[in-house]
Amino acid sequence: MPDTPQVDSIEVAEDMEFQRTSWRVQRAGWIVMLAAVVAAILGLFGQGPLAAGHAGGATAGFSVDFERFARLTAPQSLDIEIWPKARTTDSTASIWLDRDWLDAHEVSSILPEPESMSLQPDRVLYAFSAPASGVPLRIRFRLEAREFGRIEGRAGVPGGPSYSFKQLVYP
């Protein structure tokens, strides 16, 4: 082997220049791995402070809590609160969700269960029986993403405000 340098009496295919580069790359790689762990703790890959998304509130009568960063097939939740002023009738509260967004997910459960579900051209309308008291109705969708990439959803109350929310789903 012509490119094997003689190091004293021992023949080793050393390449100190390459070795130094690979040490540098390794050190850089450790930093990248550490950064990935820190980012994961902060929620950049889902489930953490950075991942918590929120839209709306008591003044609008309706709010959405969603996950900004989610992962394919991993459980996630979408929490919706409807205040009494945004109700359709005294005993019913309705919300709609964007159909395309729902198609990108699999809904495993809705708590409380909706009284009715109806399809509209580009949305799905859910109606819930609402408590008589003045407290907001909390609805939790448990779901799993079935597509990855950037997914934009929209939720709203019929005749009231609606909010869009963007999610990044990791493969």
Partner: protein, 149 residues
């Protein structure tokens, strides 16, 4: 198609992670390293198989993984540069009985590791019986003992 992409991604990511971790991390398996390897294989298994437990999927995954391994070995055979990048290079850490401290530190090898190999393979008793020591590209330490003639 998804199985092939999945297997190829897992192969390349694992290759990168283990190269970054350094060869020394896996060459001398302690009992705990062995457990760690089992946990790593367990964690990657779900991502690899996803929800498809069919035999077809399993065969596709295996064929992709083994196929990639063969392809890379052919590439390494043709290109010395590829071999260096994928496997690393050997490095001398004891030259003529003298430990090269700086290299040992960067390779995360200490005198204890050298003596471990020296005892294990050559039955040596002291460091001054070691003429040369090399951290091989595979991560193991080769010892050339001082000739006693």
């Amino acid at each position: 198609m998804e199985s092939v992409i999945r297997a190829a991604t897992v192969y390349l990511v694992l290759l990168a992670i283990f190269r970054i971790a350094g060869n020394r991390s896996i060459a001398q398996l302690t009992a705990f390293d062995f457990v760690l390897l089992l946990i790593i294989s367990e964690s990657i298994q779900q991502a690899l198989v996803a929800r498809d437990y069919s035999m077809t999927n399993a065969f596709l995954l295996i064929v992709t993984l083994v196929g990639l391994d063969i392809m890379l070995s052919l590439w390494k055979q043709r290109s010395p540069r590829a071999e260096k990048i994928l496997d690393g290079v050997p490095i001398l850490i004891v030259r003529d009985g003298k430990p090269l401290e700086d290299r040992m530190r960067k390779e995360r090898v200490d005198e204890g590791d050298i003596m471990h190999s020296a005892r294990d393979r050559h039955g040596l008793e002291r460091l001054d019986q070691v003429k040369h020591a090399v951290v091989e590209a595979t991560g193991g330490i080769s010892i050339i003992p001082v000739r006693s003639d």
